[in-house]
């Protein structure tokens, strides 16, 4: 445990939310786990941060946290960005729990837009922040109709989108939030993680939970569940990454961020997962 | 849909034409039109019609205008319904009563047993003449049907350059010949002809006479209305007088 223990702030319930709200969220989580990939409505609360900053993920995390949990929060793979730092500090203060930047040390990892490079274990839970839980939202505007499509597993339309992409660009142009089928039944939005991370979701040992605060939906992928990225037989899914190595640690298999270093076109590629990069540089 | 039959079973086919085989037998046929829009006015047209036509035989319906020749011919095609009596048709070596047959059976009978040449050509607009004719061929591969259609049209003096055009713009005589080609290409065992030569010149009329004779020789039973006595004399084996019903009820 690298993070210092901070005692819980006065005047707040443990982990900010009251116990009844946490119960309500836990019930939704249980239902979500029972029906993998299915979006379960929940009574999303107002949180002390704006929509789009992870209100859904925070509520799921709040409902999960126990006193002995160790929390890691990442935003785009980094532990040191504003959103990650704020949320980590929020729970350190309202729950008094331990936090970490080390993937391997965390029991709960809340994430925005990435899955850590280090494989997750069965005793860990990853919580995704989700802006739009409905994978069909851009194709079918009616919620009633998308619910019906999920109910009847009528997903031809999603393949039409892929068909149109290949027709227009020669390949599927979706590079993040790439739709997946969960357990061969529900079409699911994996949240805006890069398509590169999709294969990590498949049969992951850790429980994966998804929280959408503004849209008031929770969904889940239980451990070891099949998660398949949609594709065509003759245009198979490919997890693509920038064709470079990390300028800091030299990794040639991690997801890279492109960093502009000056205004003369200078740039470098570095691991998006800061913890992964540091551990490699530390020569573990 | 096979009805109990008053007819004897068909004799074994000898391959030749036999007058023994009755292809069409009408018995006690009555038909009255009821015009509801004219306060239920009843117009009896056919009364107790009895008629039998053998394979290879041509019967000409005669009678004054309005006597009901056309009504009878249309009744034989199932186009008009019969009020009573029966119209026994030999269909697939069985006897079917057209007067009581369900619509589906009539569709089947028309597809395979009874052909009809009306006075007017009624087809889907903008379909090529050759296709109009070819699609009337029964159980024939498309390519062969088109070849036969082309041959028939040419025989009827519809030049090849017109085959690809829809018949809508054709002259009355040309349309009638297209209609004839349509009626003959199916080689139905029973053929009903309604004024098949009405608007034809002598040369084409003779061609039609030859085609009718050929169909008869092949065993086709024919019932027709021929105002043209030359044609009638040339093709008819018998005349059937349709007598007008004077008294309107």
């Amino acid at each position: 445990m690298t993070a210092p223990m901070i005692s819980q702030a006065d005047g707040y319930n443990f982990a900010y939310l009251d116990e009844q709200t946490k119960r309500m969220i836990r019930r939704s989580i249980l239902k979500a786990v029972a029906v993998p990939g299915h979006q379960v409505p929940f009574g999303s609360r107002e949180m002390p941060l704006p929509y789009g900053w992870g209100t859904g993920g925070i509520q799921v995390t709040a409902a999960l946290l126990g006193t002995d949990d160790v929390l890691k929060v990442i935003d785009q793979g980094a532990d040191d960005t504003t959103n990650a730092v704020s949320i980590r500090r929020f729970f350190a203060r309202t729950a008094g729990i331990a936090t970490t930047t080390r993937t391997a040390e965390a029991t709960i990892i809340q994430t925005r837009h990435r899955i850590p490079e280090t494989p997750l274990r069965a005793d860990q839970i990853i919580v995704y922040q989700v802006p739009q839980p409905e994978p069909l939202s851009g194709l079918e505007s009616s919620r009633t109709e998308t619910s019906r499509m999920h109910g009847l597993a009528d997903y031809g339309l999603m393949h039409v989108k892929l068909y149109e992409d290949i027709t227009r660009y020669g390949h599927v142009s979706i590079s993040y939030d790439y739709p997946v089928m969960v357990g061969g039944r529900y079409l699911m939005a994996p949240s805006p993680i890069p398509a590169f991370d999709n294969p990590k979701m498949d049969r992951m040992a850790a429980l994966q939970l998804f929280g959408a605060g503004r849209e008031k939906r929770i969904y889940a992928v239980p451990p070891y569940t099949e998660v398949r990225s949609l594709d065509f037989d003759d245009h198979p899914f490919r997890a693509s990454r920038a064709p470079h190595t990390c300028n800091l640690c030299g990794a040639d298999d991690s997801y890279l961020d492109e960093v502009v270093t000056d205004d003369k076109g200078g740039r470098m590629f570095v691991c998006s997962d800061t913890d992964h990069c540091e551990e490699r540089r530390d020569g573990r | 849909m096979t009805q109990s039959s008053a007819l004897p079973p068909a004799p074994p086919s000898s391959g030749g034409v036999s007058n023994e085989i009755s292809m069409l037998t009408v018995s006690g046929l009555n038909k009255t039109f009821v015009l509801h829009l004219q306060h239920g006015l009843k117009i009896p047209v056919l009364s107790n019609i009895n008629l039998s036509v053998a394979a290879g035989e041509c019967v000409a319906l005669v009678g004054q205008s309005g006597a009901g020749k056309s009504t009878l011919l249309r009744s034989l095609y199932g186009n008009y319904g019969a009020d009573s009596g029966y119209i026994h048709v030999r269909h697939d070596n069985e006897t079917v009563d057209l007067a009581t047959a369900p619509p589906r059976a009539i569709v089947d009978i028309r597809a395979r047993t009874i052909g009809y040449v009306s006075q007017f050509l009624r087809v889907v607009p903008r379909v090529a003449t050759i296709d109009v004719v070819a699609e009337a061929a029964r159980d024939t591969p498309p390519e062969e049907a088109r070849n036969r259609a082309a041959a028939l049209l040419s025989r009827l003096n519809i030049p090849a350059r017109l085959h690809a055009l829809p018949p809508a713009t054709f002259s009355g005589g040309e349309q009638q010949r297209v209609n004839l080609a349509r009626g003959f290409i199916g080689a139905h065992p029973i053929l009903l002809l309604d004024e098949p030569t009405a608007s034809l010149d002598n040369a084409n009329r003779d061609i039609v006479i030859a085609m009718i004779a050929q169909a008869k020789a092949a065993g086709t039973a024919i019932v027709g209305i021929f105002h043209d006595t030359v044609v009638r004399d040339a093709v008819a084996d018998r005349l059937y007088h349709v007598v007008p019903i004077q008294d309107v009820i």
Binding site: G151, V160, I166, T167 | L35, N79
Partner: protein, 258 residues
């Protein structure tokens, strides 16, 4: 000639408030047969089509569909997923307004391919080839496969809808005024296309139309509806040329030529 019906309805009754939309309607459809339902606006013909297709539930009566292996299904008692599957494979529905069915923001190829994909086709090349083949069959230039429907004329849109519907080789197609709203010259071409495809593929169809000429050219049998009741039915040309019922006589005498 098959003796078993593809679709049978008995005693269909449906009221919209006090208005009888269907009153004790029976209907049968055999494989490969085209049945026209005619009548004026408000006669209940479109309601009948929707009830037969399972899109609208009757107050009373039942609709039975016989699947390819011969099993009978009560259309209105079927689980929704099974009915949906039926609608995207064995059945098709052609709307009067093709925009109701087509996806206007999806290319012609994607529109035609959707039912294939919904059915589980997962080979882009095959789907595209099939889409092109169907565009040709409905006389749309194959070069338009990547164009959006909004660039198509009304007649082309209707033909595209037909391609989109027939691509899975349905056994039964419901058509609601398929030639309505089109220019007369375009109608003729579409009629010929529908007739040719229905005949070649052996499709059975229930065709709702107010146009008796369309019914005459396409349908084997016809049902005449008035105020929710079937007043007369039978062989198409017999009903039109020798109508028995007063209403049918009125209908036939009201058109210029049918």
């Amino acid at each position: 000639m098959a003796d078993e019906t593809l679709l049978s309805a008995r005693g269909l009754t449906l009221h919209f408030g006090a208005i009888p939309a269907l009153v004790d309607v029976d209907a049968d459809l055999w494989p490969g047969e085209v049945l026209a339902v005619v009548g004026e606006s408000g006669s209940g013909k479109s309601t009948l089509l929707n009830v037969l297709a399972g899109r609208m539930a009757p107050d009373a009566g039942a609709v039975w569909y016989r699947d390819p292996i011969g099993a009978l299904h009560d259309v209105h008692a079927m689980p929704a997923p099974a009915l949906r599957t039926l609608h995207r494979s064995d059945w098709g529905f052609v709307h009067q307004n093709p925009r109701e069915n087509l996806r206007m923001a999806v290319t012609a190829g994607g529109n035609v391919g959707e039912r294939l994909m919904a059915r589980g086709s997962r080979h882009y090349g095959d789907i595209r080839a099939e889409a092109i083949s169907w565009l040709r069959q409905v006389e749309i230039d194959a070069g338009r496969v990547d164009d959006f429907p909004r660039t198509f004329s009304g007649g082309m849109l209707q033909r595209l809808q037909i391609a989109r519907t027939l691509v899975t080789h349905p056994r039964l197609v419901f058509m609601d005024e398929p030639t309505g709203g089109l220019d007369v010259s375009v109608q003729a071409r579409l009629l010929d296309l529908i007739r040719t495809l229905v005949r070649r593929l052996g499709i059975a169809a229930v065709l709702v139309t107010h146009d008796l000429a369309v019914a005459r050219l396409l349908a084997h049998r016809i049902m005449v509806m008035q105020r929710g009741r079937v007043v007369e039915s039978g062989l198409t040309d017999r009903v039109l040329d020798d109508p028995k019922h007063e209403y049918t006589q009125l209908l036939v005498s009201s058109v210029l030529s049918a």
